[in-house]
Amino acid sequence: MNVETSAVTESVSHRMVAGRKPELSQSAAVANGEVALLARLRQGNEGAFDELVTRHHSALIRMAMGYVADREVAEEVVQDTWMVVIEGLGQFEGRSSLRTWIFGIMIHKAKDRGVREKRHTNFSSFESADDEGDEAIDPSRFHQSGEWAGHWAFPPQPWDDQTPEKLLASQQAVTAMNRAIEALPRTLKDVLILRDVEGVETKEVCDILKITETNLYVRLHRARERVRQAVETHLERRPSAV
């Protein structure tokens, strides 16, 4: 287990492009509620462990699903991840945040398991798929030529009455969004789950996924756009009287 732990231990990637507006520094991210939790974990506090698991388990499962064949295997991967975390807590030095460390272990284990299962053998092509290549939005929504080339031909219609609360109150809208998220390619889903679902700061997402900030925003926007399209389609199908 130590080999696995060390392979992903707190390695902080510095491949990011220069951020114009830095968010929390690494130490601040660690200080962001984790220091006290880490201290309790090291004291063997069961409540702290439950808190840690509750905090991250859902996102770990959702992300692991992108690497392995099914839910059952994803559960095993995350269960194994927690075992490595338990064994490694004593050696964890806090050079990265606890969350970065835990997610790094999961990704390492999930990749290993995915490759062993030969379900996703071609990781390199899988990783590069759906990155920077294509446009985020269907290009046919824009004028293709003429003096208005590149400007909206079919602009989005305002969602005037659709506050986040209202969307969340609609089971159909929630289902549409969840389906769109689950259908995302892994590279996009990882970024969306970490940044928007879990609220992880940009720099930390880059550290966890070992990608640049530029790359993160390309992926994040493509992911958000697909969810936006799902909402748009859902609203278009809705009876106009609602």
Binding site: R20, S58, L89, P164, L168, V218, H221
Partner: protein
């Protein structure tokens, strides 16, 4: 990206280009000059303004969606492992 002569001046950036920068713009991760161009464009383009609002709504809603899984299937085993590990090494070392 240079504006060609004869194109309508909606600002120096097209809507299609704007849309690619929306998420970075919302998170304030764009350079000042680009931010200015985007802001100028949004001030006069209803389509892009709507688009930015929709992406912001998506960003906010995604974090509030109900989460399906709360606990591991075998949380008891994990807790026991945690306690056992803590007993072996109470100071965490």
């Amino acid at each position: 990206m240079a504006q060609e002569e004869g194109q309508p001046i909606l600002s120096e950036i097209t809507c299609q280009e704007i849309t690619q920068w929306v998420s970075a713009y919302l998170d304030e991760h764009v350079a000042d000059e680009r931010k200015r161009h985007i802001a100028l464009h949004l001030a006069i383009c209803a389509g892009c303004e709507t688009y930015v609002k929709q992406i912001a709504t998506v960003r906010d809603v995604v974090g509030l969606l109900p989460k399906a899984v709360k606990q591991p299937a075998d949380s008891q085993r994990l807790r026991q492992a945690f306690v056992a590990r803590a007993k072996r090494s109470p100071a965490g070392g």
